[in-house]
Subunit: 288 residues, 4 copies
Amino acid sequence: MTPKVGWIGLGLIGKPMARRLANAGLAMTVWNRAASKAEELVPLGARPAATAREAAAASEVLFTCVSDPPALEAVLFGPEGALEGLGAGSVLVDCSTISPALARRIAAACAERGAEFLEAPITGGTWGAEKGELVFLIGGEAATLDRVRPVLAHLGKKLFHLGPHGAGQTVKLAMNLLYALEVQALAEALALVAGAGIGAEKLLDVLASSMGRAPVLDVKAPMMTSGNYAPSFPLRLMHKDLGLALDLANHLGVPLPATAAARETYSAVKGASAEDVDYAAVRRFWRQ
Amino acid sequence: MTPKVGWIGLGLIGKPMARRLANAGLAMTVWNRAASKAEELVPLGARPAATAREAAAASEVLFTCVSDPPALEAVLFGPEGALEGLGAGSVLVDCSTISPALARRIAAACAERGAEFLEAPITGGTWGAEKGELVFLIGGEAATLDRVRPVLAHLGKKLFHLGPHGAGQTVKLAMNLLYALEVQALAEALALVAGAGIGAEKLLDVLASSMGRAPVLDVKAPMMTSGNYAPSFPLRLMHKDLGLALDLANHLGVPLPATAAARETYSAVKGASAEDVDYAAVRRFWRQ
Amino acid sequence: MTPKVGWIGLGLIGKPMARRLANAGLAMTVWNRAASKAEELVPLGARPAATAREAAAASEVLFTCVSDPPALEAVLFGPEGALEGLGAGSVLVDCSTISPALARRIAAACAERGAEFLEAPITGGTWGAEKGELVFLIGGEAATLDRVRPVLAHLGKKLFHLGPHGAGQTVKLAMNLLYALEVQALAEALALVAGAGIGAEKLLDVLASSMGRAPVLDVKAPMMTSGNYAPSFPLRLMHKDLGLALDLANHLGVPLPATAAARETYSAVKGASAEDVDYAAVRRFWRQ
Amino acid sequence: MTPKVGWIGLGLIGKPMARRLANAGLAMTVWNRAASKAEELVPLGARPAATAREAAAASEVLFTCVSDPPALEAVLFGPEGALEGLGAGSVLVDCSTISPALARRIAAACAERGAEFLEAPITGGTWGAEKGELVFLIGGEAATLDRVRPVLAHLGKKLFHLGPHGAGQTVKLAMNLLYALEVQALAEALALVAGAGIGAEKLLDVLASSMGRAPVLDVKAPMMTSGNYAPSFPLRLMHKDLGLALDLANHLGVPLPATAAARETYSAVKGASAEDVDYAAVRRFWRQ
């Protein structure tokens, strides 16, 4: 009795997620702004939809997984958008990282149509998406979560139910500012030792046996020393999330001084980088 | 054939270190500005000296372990200071966190007297000092390190030889800014979720299973949620070390934007805290 | 041959502007979200409209002057919004401070209807609005500006034509970040001398005869020393403009480190202030 | 009955000051680390001293005017330093910008010798030094000030007596952070408009007729647009003074977020500039 699933957004994270569901044998309708990506899933049994609205109309559980708030607003609220297609009793699950305010607006729009909404931003990256080991940070009703839990089980190893609509996105933004500042911390520490003429490996040796070690730094440190910034989590998206975190904090009147300082260094690197780079490339702020 | 050891500085870290050496049976002369602390080591066989100079004169290997650069300058260069007592062929090992410039000045002053100098700032805290599991970040000659290695073996589990005089302090300052920014990252993330009305435990649950987890955060998070900031590493010392890191970076012309932003929050909390608190109390910047 | 004028937005700045035009004998239609404010202009000959759309339909030159981008989007693009009422050949002049991107979107929407658009954010405050001594920072076509110049002459002493659509808002945001940082500079300088136990008047005496004096500081300094922050330019609006400036800069990849740091202090004061205060109240960040 | 005057420090500011006193016919003894500069004053009647101590011994009022705290410590406390030469009843007037703590230390050292001390940091630059239009920010006893007032009258147009020892330096540091942030504000505003493709002159036109205009910006703006940063007030000295201001603020526990952010941009430009540049060159942070 698995539900009919719709999927909108087949990017770096969305595509491997959708592929897992298709491989698991779920009936799927898929739509992507660039239609060619939807075609890639046809051999796995997925049916391409002509519009986001059509994908929504064909689904009991509809996933959206796009890169930023404007993209999500377009696929939901734009012409031929998904919201118009959502049937009463269906569930919309959004895996994008957006503002809590937008999440609450979507929840209200779903409720008007008799549909339910779950915000479910994720961590774990492409690797986690492929292996079904994502972590979901969920905001919404527990009953809604229970309805989609069997589907999410194909995608993730952990589901954190963090509170009502907005709570999932808030914690997601808090986690991402924490990641960004940890990586900034490493970048500043490396800039200091480099400026003093000391090799990065000296610092990294000490870090590895210290209380400051963190898995994210184990992953990013080699990028910083090699200068190979092939994107795992693109800097432009981390920069966007820092903007969302600061927007939220400024709305709440909560000062975030180090996050604000870090955001400007990510901004400078974004402005100076022609190609897509991992957010570890914040190290380039010091021209390395 | 263990050397005669002198010890200057019997604070939170220095006393357990000195006690380990005394317990190991080494012949020790000790001096502390507040003499009562030196008396505590007498039952273990240590001999109290009347002045820093006298402690130095009685030692083949002299350790200093004090809280900040002015304190170290006083015990080394002040009246009846240790430097005047250092004999030719002796070794001075300083475990304080100071500027690389001061480390190089001490090295030069030792050389003038025919003595050798090793900078050996430590990480690992009181707990590591008591267990003999400190980590030493060493700058100086390898031959000097080899001479004192048998003594250091009683105190630490790891010795990182990081380069010439100044390199140990530089890496120490880089590590401490990294710690301070990691803890600041957690504080800002918690301030954001608190401002949004979400419990700290929600964020901490997610953090615990994320790539952002770090041992230092495992230790500091409970302090931040309980508001119990009994000092493990005092905020005033972390604030001092951030100042040393920024002094060094500004001397080198290396901008450290997030470190500079964080330092001001540590400063605000220092200014507002009557009692001695752990540096996790940076969370109080948001009046928690 | 003066044109029929419409006016939307009768707040602290908009009302005195509209009143000047009505007093000058121009035929006016006015609309405000809170209708009572429109009624106040009836004795001067203005005709209240029932909706923004109706005000637009009755006008050859339509002014909008509202507090922030969402308010402007609502009156222009919302139900019964002004855009639907704009006739071919009419001119929309917006005096709000918004993002350059929104200005360009409005320009495009006007062009679709055969109307022209001029962005014309202002400086000079309530006082300048009452005296007709505002400064307009204009973006758009020179020909459009020439068409409305006779109307603007009643309102302002200076018109700066800064370039195409977006340029007026960009310069406005740059000016506002400059004001905010100048006031922040004074607030930090006063915090330092206060922390050292020196009276504010000592610093202000020196400032008054220095190269650092600025008219904006002459106005804000007495607020800071008296603690009377009756809003001339509300902190919440300056905070909003700093957000727009940072959004623009981050979009462009231009780091603004001091602006970002200042924005967080404005945010903290906004979060801690129950009442509406002038942006000079950033001094309260230090609990004065 | 003018006193015998000594002068130590003949740099960009000190030399024109000393020359004015010599031209006024005062009996002068001069000393400079680089002796050739002292020789230049001989034709005006000044007598070169062999050491700082000798200059002090020959003077009733001794001026010091050097570039930074270490330089001042060297000429006062170093071998053959001025302090050893100061006679009982003489007055030491220091025009350098140093920390309030060092000012108080010097005052205490003078008192031990029966001499008086006045801190008298200056603003007004080379131009003011040549014209005798400097502004003195004075800390110390009013009676001491009265004793040297006739000499200072040759040098400055305004004397601000700001309080006891330390107060003059504190206000000086507060003024300099204010200057630095005003110039930073202009640099960030220009970076934003430049990033948006708008000419600097557009912003400067608006600034010139705004409440944000300031004499210091009138002087620095042409430097920023031309890229000609011939030093009037060298960036390295402004960077040093920002460091002193932050040291003081951090000692007091007063956070200065924007000053801290600005200091890092000055630091980056200092690190990247081979030649001596004016502090307006902070504009180069954005590679202009």
